[in-house]
């Protein structure tokens, strides 16, 4: 019985360590996950939000993508999924996923920092071409 008690101390120890890992892990790596509308509202309310890492899900505006020749910097505009008048430019310096394009309604999640000059500096871009996965009957007919 005595040893079992010791054992439970061990179990508690493991549980504590895991909790600690999660706690510090979350507090040091968490990022806000917002829509463009929420992002703009937040930044107006609290300008320090420009310095916080955020993740924003929106849609690539059609025809907005460009990339200067030889420059490894992509520019495109992201709009809100609901209110399309809310939009901001994005800069991204790495390889875009294959699913990314600016000719269809492509949903993206951009992760990075919303700079004071109103440009979103992305470090990660994930794209999902929602309309491409499944179509309605009307779309098939069209």
């Amino acid at each position: 019985m005595k040893d079992n008690g010791k054992f439970f101390v061990g179990l508690g120890g493991v549980a504590l360590v895991v909790t600690y890992l999660i706690w510090t892990g979350v507090s040091q790596t968490m990022i806000y996950y917002l829509t463009p509308v929420e992002l703009i509202a937040r930044v107006e309310q609290d300008p320090t939000f420009h310095h916080v890492g955020v993740k924003v899900s929106g849609r690539v505006e059609r025809g907005s993508w460009n990339r200067a020749e030889d420059e490894l910097l992509h520019h495109f505009t992201v709009t809100d999924l609901i209110d399309e008048s809310v939009r901001f430019p994005v800069e991204y310096r790495d390889i875009l996923p294959d699913t990314f394009n600016d000719t269809e309604n492509v949903d993206v999640v951009v992760e990075g920092r919303f700079r004071e000059d109103g440009v979103f500096e992305a470090t990660i871009v994930l794209a999902k071409c929602g309309s491409r996965y499944e179509a309605t009957a009307e779309e098939l007919l069209g």
């Binding site: 019985m1 040893d3 079992n4 010791k6 054992f7 061990g10 179990l11 493991v14 549980a15 360590v17 895991v18 890992l21 999660i22 892990g25 979350v26 040091q28 790596t29 968490m30 990022i31 806000y32 996950y33 917002l34 929420e38 993740k55 899900s57 990339r67 020749e69 030889d70 490894l72 790495d94 390889i95 996923p97 294959d98 699913t99 990314f100 394009n101 000719t103 269809e104 999640v109 992760e111 990660i124 994930l126 999902k128 071409c129 929602g130 491409r132 996965y133 499944e134 179509a135 009957a137 098939l140 007919l141």
Partner: protein, 685 residues
């Protein structure tokens, strides 16, 4: 054929429900005729689902675009191989496929156990058919019927997502599904042991084998998925920490925990409730994985279209299953008392228990991180996400602890390890581990966590090798055999143990490969034909890649492709050239797909991505002026060891699962075992 398939799907549901009811009632009232009927229902559902699947495949192969599902996932020019894979390419087909595999395993379980484990059968059949019926209800009533017709027949389908047109992608989902569905069998036997009150070690023995099978498929499915991500997604990595990837790892982690903790139950009669809990949890996690993929509840690259009906049905089902399982365990709690207690911290039981806790801890952190946006949004209204940095950070120490336990567990004594046992078994492996760290440090490896991983890997490998050598030598001496026959007999007499060690070797290789990521190098550069990119490997040699230009050959189901050719020199000596491509698939003209080029060596991969072609349309036209392009070149250190490790795991898994001649009953637990005795004798199966 298609109509027959549709009809079969509708017939399967009542048959399944009837069989489930017959099983439960037959079991309670001990009515042999009803039980027999339930067993036949299991077979019948399997046959009906074969017809359904054949129907769907026929619809794909015959380009029957009047079916919504076919129109969305195929096109005329799609190679037949990929048309067949349409069965699991989308939401609707994959649900059928899931049910098919489940009914296949159900039939296999009933067929192989109905004679020797008669008393489990009624409930096993009942539970399996309940779960099958659940999937059939989803298929028929949740707006995902694969046979739904369009009001017209389009001339052509919309085509298969080109990222799915890859060899690994055709085998990754089925393998994973095999793993998920196979775990339903352990769950069914566990629940039926609770229902029938037959709680001796028999259900454990049956369950153990099926768990191993499920675990084996899950491990392979996850590794195939990594391979696909590495080759197809074209970003140079193999793991995203994407919600769906995470969801597939969760049951694997808990199944791993279970495979270890049942050994404690078999050898020491402890942890009975814990094991029941692990079986239930793992089963629920397999359902959770498919729920996450199908509900669209969490943003993921894997999810199918959002479907709230399915989300609701799945949640209700998981809740019901969890509730019933907990009630059953509580009901039989008096029969699940421990026969022994842990005697010492320094014992194998204790090592296994810590292994269990840490595996569950890992599962918990991954689940937490995956659901974090949902939790925070529910609580505060603002979603907060955690990404790869969180998962890597948290799971690194957890992984290292597991690695250490992988060395300690197999050689520490049961009950209470003596000082002699510890010194004898661990002196040399610790020494080897420390020496490996020292040697690597002197060679210029200064990454702390990577060094620790390599050191621990060396520690574990030494322990395993010593075990094999000792076992072989002892056998050769006692039986008077040569070393090779002695080795063969050693392994074949106790496949589970030695197969398990081989699996450990594979896992260690994969851990080593993960540590290799710390040393990856990459270069991003825009060049014209004739120009070169130079990249230095962390091993000291240098690659020079010379761009030879773009060409535009025709390929199957492709509109166009641009293929960049690079000749490669390693330290000045020419080696195999690399091809990197941008491909436009039929029906997917707006998104060119990137195909990477890889040269694999034992310790590293040279990995080439065609990032961008300045004038892609010009390149497609073979325009000589449109050749300037941007490349990313990577040296990915040790990445091949994931695939080699996967191969070793497969080998070890097959050895461990290979049916042994004769009995499947466990050796009786020895009551006379003394301290420090080799435990292998009792673990024979």
């Amino acid at each position: 054929m298609i109509l027959l398939g549709e009809l079969a799907l509708w017939i399967a549901l009542p048959v399944g429900i009837w069989g489930a009811v017959a099983g439960f009632v037959g079991g309670r009232k001990e009515r042999g005729d009803l039980v027999l009927s339930a067993e036949y229902s299991v077979y019948a559902v399997f046959l009906l689902l074969i017809l359904t699947s054949v129907g769907i495949i026929t619809a794909f192969v015959t380009d029957s675009f009047e079916y919504w599902y076919v129109a969305n996932y195929s096109n005329r020019e799609l190679p037949t191989f990929y048309k067949v894979s349409g069965l699991w390419a989308g939401q609707r087909g994959s649900l059928v496929f899931w049910a098919l595999l489940l009914s296949f395993f159900s039939s296999a379980a009933v067929f192989t156990n109905r004679a020797k484990n008669r008393e489990f059968m009624p409930y096993v059949a009942g539970i399996l058919l309940t779960i099958s019926s659940f999937f059939l209800v989803v298929l028929l009533f949740a707006d995902v019927n694969p046979f739904e017709r369009l009001p017209f027949a389009p001339a052509d389908g919309r085509g298969l997502n080109p990222q799915l047109q890859n060899y690994w992608m055709t085998i990754h989902p089925p393998t994973l599904y095999l793993g998920f569905t196979a775990f339903t069998i352990p769950f069914a036997f566990a629940m039926s042991a609770l229902l029938s009150g037959k709680l001796d070690t028999r259900w454990i023995v049956i369950t153990r084998r099926w768990t191993l099978l499920s675990w084996f498929f899950l491990a392979n499915g996850i590794i195939f998925g990594m391979r696909w991500a590495y080759e197809e997604l074209g970003w140079g990595g193999f793991w995203f920490w994407d919600p769906v990837e995470n969801a597939s790892v969760l049951p694997w982690l808990t199944a791993t925990a279970f495979l270890h903790s049942i050994q404690i139950q078999e050898n020491r009669g402890m942890l009975k409730v814990w094991n029941m809990g692990l079986v239930t949890l793992t089963f629920l996690l397999t359902i959770f994985a498919t729920f996450l993929t199908r509900s669209g509840l969490i943003e993921s690259v894997h999810t199918f279209a959002e479907n709230t009906t399915i989300a609701f049905i799945f949640l209700a089902f998981m809740g019901l299953m969890a509730g019933v399982s907990i009630l059953l365990i509580a009901w039989r709690y008096p029969h699940l008392k421990s026969e022994n207690q842990i005697q010492s911290f320094l014992s194998r039981e204790s090592a296994f228990l810590f292994n269990n806790l840490i595996l569950l801890g890992a599962a918990f952190t991954i689940m937490w991180g995956t659901l974090f946006p949902l939790i925070t949004e529910g609580l505060t209204g603002t979603a907060i996400a955690v990404g790869p940095p969180f998962f890597n950070r948290v799971n690194l120490p957890i992984g290292l602890a597991l690695l250490a336990l992988m060395g300690i567990g197999p050689v520490i004594a049961w009950r209470r390890a003596s000082r002699r046992n510890l010194v004898k078994n661990f002196r040399m492996p610790v020494l080897v581990g420390v020496m490996v760290i020292g040697a690597l440090f002197l060679r210029g490896v200064h990454h702390g966590m990577a060094l620790l991983t390599f050191g621990l890997s060396a520690f574990v490998m030494t322990i395993i090798i010593v075990e094999f050598v000792k076992g072989t030598k002892a056998r050769a001496r006692i039986e008077g055999e040569g070393y090779f026959p002695a080795f063969y007999h050693l392994v074949s007499r106790n496949r589970r143990r030695w197969g398990g060690y081989i699996v450990h070797v594979g896992v260690v290789m994969i851990f080593t490969a993960f540590a290799g990521v710390a040393f990856n190098r990459e270069v991003l550069q825009t060049i014209d034909p004739g120009e070169t990119i130079t990249i230095e490997s962390p091993f000291g040699h240098e690659y020079v890649l010379t761009y030879q230009g773009l060409s535009s050959p025709r390929g199957e189901n492709m509109v166009r492709q641009a293929v960049a050719l690079m000749t490669v020199a390693r330290n000045g000596r020419p080696v195999e050239s690399l091809r990197a491509e941008k491909v436009l698939y039929v029906k997917w003209e707006s998104s060119p797909i990137t195909n990477v080029g890889v040269n694999s060596y034992i310790l590293e991969d040279l990995y080439l991505i065609l990032e961008n072609v300045n004038d892609l349309n010009g390149a497609f036209e073979n325009d000589a002026g449109a050749q300037r392009a941007t490349f990313k070149v990577q040296v990915n250190v040790l990445v091949g060891w994931i695939w080699y490790g996967g191969f070793v795991i497969t080998l070890g898994g097959i050895i461990a699962m290979w049916p042994s001649r004769g009995s499947t009953t466990p050796a009786p637990r020895s009551k006379t075992k003394t301290e420090g005795e080799r435990p292998a004798l009792a673990a024979r199966s």
